[in-house]
């Protein structure tokens, strides 16, 4: 039996992406360390369009988190350019263009769940009434209604991470940057949150950039998968997913899913990711 998978387009479709949200051109970043310069990113060309769900996958040290941090203006590139919503990454950050979800929930322990979701709203000067309305809406969106008054330590790890997603959604940025958000959670919780994330993405139509080192997670979630390799950190393949938008969890047993996963694995191997 043959499975139809489109051939990988070289440095996937810079030209045909409509409404680009993220445009990286010849992006490079070199860290100066005590052991000499380390090239974290080299020559990254990437365009991400509005409404896409793009995963970055690769072994540790491949620069996937660094790339996400460059988009977020938490790191400055040393060469090339990065445009977010058509402006420099710095301008985009100042315009609060994105919500960022870290590896850990990073909730403030002295604030309740609703207090944590309110944090960006307070900083951005949203009125009290508007804050209450948005807290309610975003907590609804991540299924945390009823936990407003709880403190972070009273919630499970998965719930804490959902609260941090609510916090990133609260100020209605169109772009969501997620750095291995479910990496520290067990597989059952992770499956559940993956499902919820897809649902949330379908409802909000946000653009999502998602860093992971799990192949099934990347394939299950993404419309496009960016495969990266280390030394120097670079993009080795970009794979368009042929899976439908509607994705029940058991789609992961279909041949189509497995074929895409196999291509991701091939991409990682081609980038020498499995070598020591």
């Amino acid at each position: 039996m043959s499975i139809m998978i489109p051939e990988p387009k070289q440095v996937a479709g810079m030209s045909e992406v409509k409404n680009p949200v993220i445009e990286a051109r010849k992006l490079g970043l070199t860290f100066q360390t005590n052991d000499g310069p380390v090239q974290a990113l080299a020559n990254v060309d990437l365009t991400i369009g509005k409404g896409e769900f793009v995963s970055f996958i690769g072994p540790s040290g491949c620069g996937k988190t660094t790339l996400l941090r460059v988009i977020a203006d938490l790191e400055k590139p040393t060469s090339g350019s990065m445009l977010v919503n058509g402006m420099t990454a710095e301008k985009a950050r100042e315009a609060r263009a994105y919500g960022y979800v870290f590896q850990a929930a990073a909730l403030f322990p002295w604030r309740t769940i609703s207090g944590n979701v309110a944090l960006p709203l307070e900083i951005m000067g949203v009125s009290k009434a508007e804050q209450a309305e948005r807290i309610k809406r975003t907590l609804d969106l991540v299924n945390l209604s009823g936990f407003e008054k709880k403190y972070p330590w009273q919630l499970s790890g998965g719930m804490q991470q959902r609260a941090s997603i609510a916090r990133a959604l609260a100020f209605d940025a169109d772009l969501l940057l997620m750095d291995e958000p479910f990496g520290a959670l067990d597989e059952i919780v992770r499956d559940h949150l993956n499902e919820q994330l897809l649902e949330l993405w379908a409802r909000t139509e946000k653009t999502i950039c998602f860093v992971t080192h799990s192949i099934p997670e990347a394939v299950y979630l993404s419309t496009r998968i960016v495969v990266m390799s280390p030394r120097p950190g670079r993009v080795t393949d970009v794979i368009e997913s042929t899976l439908p938008k509607e994705r029940p969890l058991d789609i992961r047993e279909t041949p189509e899913f497995l074929a895409i996963a196999a291509r991701v694995r091939d991409g990682l191997r081609a980038g020498h990711s499995y070598e020591d």
Partner: protein, 292 residues
Amino acid sequence: MDRLRDKIVPVTTLLVILVVAWYAFAVLLNSPFQRDLDRRAGETPGTVEFIGKTLTQTKPTLPSPDQVATNFFENTFLRKITSNRSLIYHSWVTLSSTLLGFAFGTVLGIVIAVGIVHVTTLDRSLMPWIIASQTIPILAVAPMIIVVLAAVGITGLIPKALISTYLSFFPVAVGMVKGLRSPELMHLDLMHTYNASRSQTFWKLRMPASVPFLFTSMKVAVAASLVGAIVGELPTGAVAGIGAKLLAAAYYSQSIDMWSALVAGSVVAALLVVAVGIVGRFVERSMGGRPA
């Protein structure tokens, strides 16, 4: 039950050992003078009588625990509070300057810490001076502060309180520098993604994150404040306060009075530390702290 085994038994055992040792030393240290007295009076008391006499001298080298306890009880509970023999009166005098100095010191410590954390120049220049300030013996500085302030017309409570301030700002400054720098990188990055201003990052992240550090250092600072207040009373010719009481008792060799003033000082110190601890726990609880 666990509390009995883990806390009460060990503490009581130690206390009993200390009291026994104290009695032994009292007999040992007071006996030369007692022998001298007996020789001059031509008496030859038996061992038990002799030991009894060493423990009931009016100006012993080392008063016995029961002498100190009796004196402390009488001067605390049986005197009128306005009497200048009342330990409560003296404690109150010392306490008032302790609290004023502690308040000054805490505010000063916080201000210095905020400066150090936010201004690079202060970070580089101020810390060595702050550490140096604490290496100067306070006993030498205290009279100078009193004299200089008296020369510009400031007398009374403030000069004494300033000596407490001098000792108490240090732990607060050091603790708060650590506390204000305690937020994780991830939390700071988070504030950066919101494009938060420095003052927003300070009030919403650094300040609340430093609260546990603040209370830990305030416990040290309040005890230091009390020491400062007592030391401040010594060279100033103060007529009231635990320090003045200590000095007067030492002057007239009233060792029992001296010891009971010492006890009063430690009781005040313990109460202050416990009070700060209770306030700290209350604040942490209201900030969503996990109950221990």
